[in-house]
C-alpha cells in the first residue's frame, strides 16, 4: 500500500507565453516535515507555491496536495491548506483581528472567535489586534498574514518567503513558530532565498530557472561542498581543500597529530546573526 505524501509534484511545467517559469519540477514532501524551497529571485518559487495552492493551472505535469489535485478538488482542499503569500495580502483599513476573522470565517469553524484569539496570541499580536493594519510595521503585517494562514488549523502550510524584510529577532521567532507547528503535526512548505534558513528545514530543494537542481537534507547538501583548511606552523602557512564531510576534516587533522580513533570533527561556530541576537537579548536584560 502506498502512503500518500503531503505534497507530490511530478514533471510540473508552467509556461507564460514564451517564458517557461517551471521546467519539469519533481519533488515529494512527507507529512509533518519542514520543507524549504531555496532559490534566487525569479527562480520560480512563488509560481510553484501558487500551483500547489491551486491559484495556477499547470501547463503540464501533476500536482497532488494531500493526495488531491488542487484545481480539481478546490473545496475539499481549501479546508486543509493554509497560504501565506509573498506580499501582505491584507485589508489595510481593517484591524488585524478583523482580517484574521474574515479569512477564518470562510471556513466552517464553530470556535472561530476563540481560535482568532489563539492565533493572535501565537503571533504575539494580541496587544494591538484592534489597530488598523496600515498602522503596523512590515514585520507586524507579516505576523498578521501568518495568523490568517493558520487560523483554520491547516494540515499543510505554504509560506512564500515568510521572513523576507523581517528583522533577525522576528525571523528567529518565526522559525520557532514553524518548528512548533511541525511538532504539532503540520507540514510546512517554505520558500526562501536566505541560505542560512535552509539549515532550519528537515529537507530542502534548490530551484534555479524553474528546475530543481538539488533536493536533500540540508546537512547532506552542505557535505557536497568543499572546506578550505589553513594550517599555520611557525612562519609557514599551508592551505588544503578538503571535502565538506566531518570525516574529511578528521582525516586531514590526523596529519597534525589528531588521534587516529577520532572519526569525524565538526566545527559549529555562531553565525553573525546569532551573535547579534545574543547582544540584543543581553541589552534587553539589563
Amino acid at each position: 500500500m502506498s502512503v500518500v505524501g503531503a505534497v507530490e509534484v511530478a514533471g510540473l511545467t508552467k509556461r507564460y507565453g514564451r517564458i517557461e517559469a517551471l521546467r519539469g519540477v519533481d519533488l515529494a514532501v512527507a507529512h509533518g516535515r519542514v520543507y524549504g524551497l531555496l532559490g534566487p529571485n525569479g527562480a520560480g518559487k512563488s509560481t510553484l507555491i501558487r500551483a500547489l495552492v491551486g491559484s495556477l493551472r499547470p501547463t503540464s505535469g501533476s500536482v497532488r496536495v494531500l493526495g488531491m489535485e488542487p484545481t480539481a478538488h478546490r473545496a475539499e482542499l481549501r479546508e486543509r491548506i493554509g497560504y501565506m503569500p509573498q506580499g501582505p495580502a491584507l485589508y489595510d483599513n481593517l484591524s488585524a483581528h478583523d482580517n484574521v476573522k474574515f479569512f477564518g470565517g470562510a471556513h466552517h469553524m464553530p470556535d472561530l472567535a476563540e481560535r482568532v484569539r489563539e492565533v493572535l496570541d501565537f503571533t504575539e499580536l494580541a496587544d494591538r489586534a484592534g489597530d488598523l493594519v496600515y498602522t503596523y510595521s512590515g514585520g507586524m503585517k507579516r505576523r498578521v498574514s501568518l495568523a490568517c494562514a493558520l487560523v483554520h488549523r491547516p494540515d499543510v502550510l505554504f509560506l512564500d518567503e515568510p521572513t523576507a524584510a523581517v528583522d533577525p529577532a522576528l525571523r528567529a521567532r518565526f522559525w520557532l513558530a514553524f518548528r512548533d507547528l511541525a511538532a504539532r503535526g503540520a507540514t510546512l512548505f517554505i520558500s526562501t532565498h536566505l541560505m542560512d534558513e535552509a539549515m532550519l528545514c528537515d529537507e530542502v530543494a534548490v530551484l534555479r530557472q524553474g528546475r530543481v537542481i538539488a533536493a536533500d537534507t540540508p546537512v547532506r547538501l552542505l557535505q557536497r561542498g568543499r572546506t578550505r583548511l589553513i594550517v599555520r606552523t611557525g612562519d609557514n602557512e599551508l592551505e588544503y581543500t578538503i571535502g565538506g564531510r566531518p570525516e574529511d576534516l578528521a582525516a586531514a587533522l590526523q596529519a597534525y597529530g589528531l588521534a587516529p580513533d577520532v572519526r569525524s570533527v565538526e566545527v559549529r561556530g555562531d553565525t553573525l546573526e546569532s551573535v547579534v541576537l545574543d547582544l540584543v537579548a543581553a541589552e534587553d536584560d539589563q
Binding site: 481549501r78 491584507l90 485589508y91 483599513n93 478583523d98 479569512f103 470562510a106 488598523l132 490568517c148 483554520h152
Partner: protein, 245 residues
C-alpha cells in the same frame, strides 16, 4: 450564502472605515447637481429643468457606483487579497454577490441623497407613486452599475487598466442614452448601441414618469430590462472573474 454575507460584511466594514471615500461619494453628486442648477438657471425659462436634472442625478449615481466598484475590486486583485479569498474557499459568485450586497448600501444612500437634492433644489413636486418609481428606477440602475463595475474589473489587472473602460462606458451613456439628446433623433446605429446601456432604460422610465400625466404603464418593461441586465452581468462576471491563472 454564508460566504456571500461574509464578503458583504467585510466590504461594509471597510466602507465604514473609509469615511473620506464615503463622504466624497455622497457629496460629489450633490455638488455636481448644485452646479447643474446654477447652469440651468442661465437657460431660457421655458426649458424643462426636470427633463435634465433628474436624469443627471441618475447618471451621477450610475457613474460613481460603476467606478468605485470597478476600482476597489481591482485593488483586491493587485493587493493579493482576492487570491487569498479564493485559496480560503470563497468562490467567484460569492465574491460578486458580496460586492453587490456591500455596495448596495452605498448606492442606496447616493440615490436618496441625489434625488432629494434634485427635488428640493429644482422645487419639483411629484406624487408619492412617482417618487417611489423614481427611487426604484435609480436604485435598479445603481445595482446594474455595481455589476457593470464588477464585470469591467475582471478585465483589468491594475487600477490603471480600469481607466480606459471609463470613457468606453460613460461617454456613450451621456450621448446615447437620452440624457442630452432624444434617442429617436439619433442615427439607427447609435440608437441600437444605446440599447446596450443601462442608463437608457432608466432614462426611458424617468422621462415618462416626470412628464405631466405620465405613468409607468407604458414603460414598466424597462424596469425588467434593468433587473435582467444586472442578472446577466452577475452571471458574466461570475465567469470572467478568474480564480485560477
Amino acid at each position: 450564502m454564508r460566504r456571500t454575507l461574509l464578503v458583504a460584511g467585510r466590504v461594509l466594514r471597510q466602507l465604514r472605515r473609509e469615511r473620506r471615500l464615503l463622504g466624497l461619494s455622497i457629496v460629489a453628486p450633490l455638488v455636481i447637481v448644485f452646479l447643474l442648477k446654477l447652469f440651468l438657471d442661465t437657460m431660457p425659462p421655458d426649458l424643462s429643468r426636470a427633463r435634465y436634472a433628474v436624469p443627471v442625478a441618475a447618471f451621477l449615481v450610475h457613474f460613481l457606483a460603476f467606478l468605485l466598484c470597478a476600482i476597489v475590486l481591482v485593488q483586491e486583485r493587485t493587493a493579493g487579497t482576492l487570491e487569498r479569498m479564493f485559496v480560503n474557499g470563497v468562490t467567484r459568485s460569492q465574491v460578486v454577490g458580496g460586492y453587490l450586497l456591500g455596495y448596495l448600501g452605498l448606492a442606496t444612500l447616493q440615490t436618496v441623497a441625489a434625488l432629494t437634492e434634485v427635488l428640493l433644489l429644482f422645487r419639483l413636486s411629484y406624487s408619492l407613486g412617482t417618487l417611489v418609481v423614481l427611487f426604484v428606477v435609480v436604485w435598479l440602475l445603481a445595482v446594474a452599475s455595481v455589476m457593470l463595475g464588477v464585470f469591467v474589473s475582471t478585465f483589468a489587472r491594475s487600477e490603471a487598466q480600469v481607466f480606459p473602460f471609463i470613457p468606453m462606458v460613460i461617454v456613450p451613456s451621456v450621448f446615447l442614452s437620452g440624457l442630452l439628446l432624444d434617442p429617436d433623433l439619433l442615427p439607427t446605429w447609435a440608437s441600437l448601441l444605446g440599447l446596450l446601456l443601462p442608463l437608457r432604460y432608466a432614462n426611458n422610465v424617468i422621462q415618462e414618469v416626470i412628464m405631466p400625466g405620465g405613468s409607468l404603464g407604458a414603460v414598466w418593461p424597462n424596469l425588467l430590462v434593468l433587473a435582467g441586465y444586472s442578472i446577466i452581468l452577475w452571471l458574466l462576471a461570475s465567469r470572467t472573474l478568474t480564480e485560477v491563472d
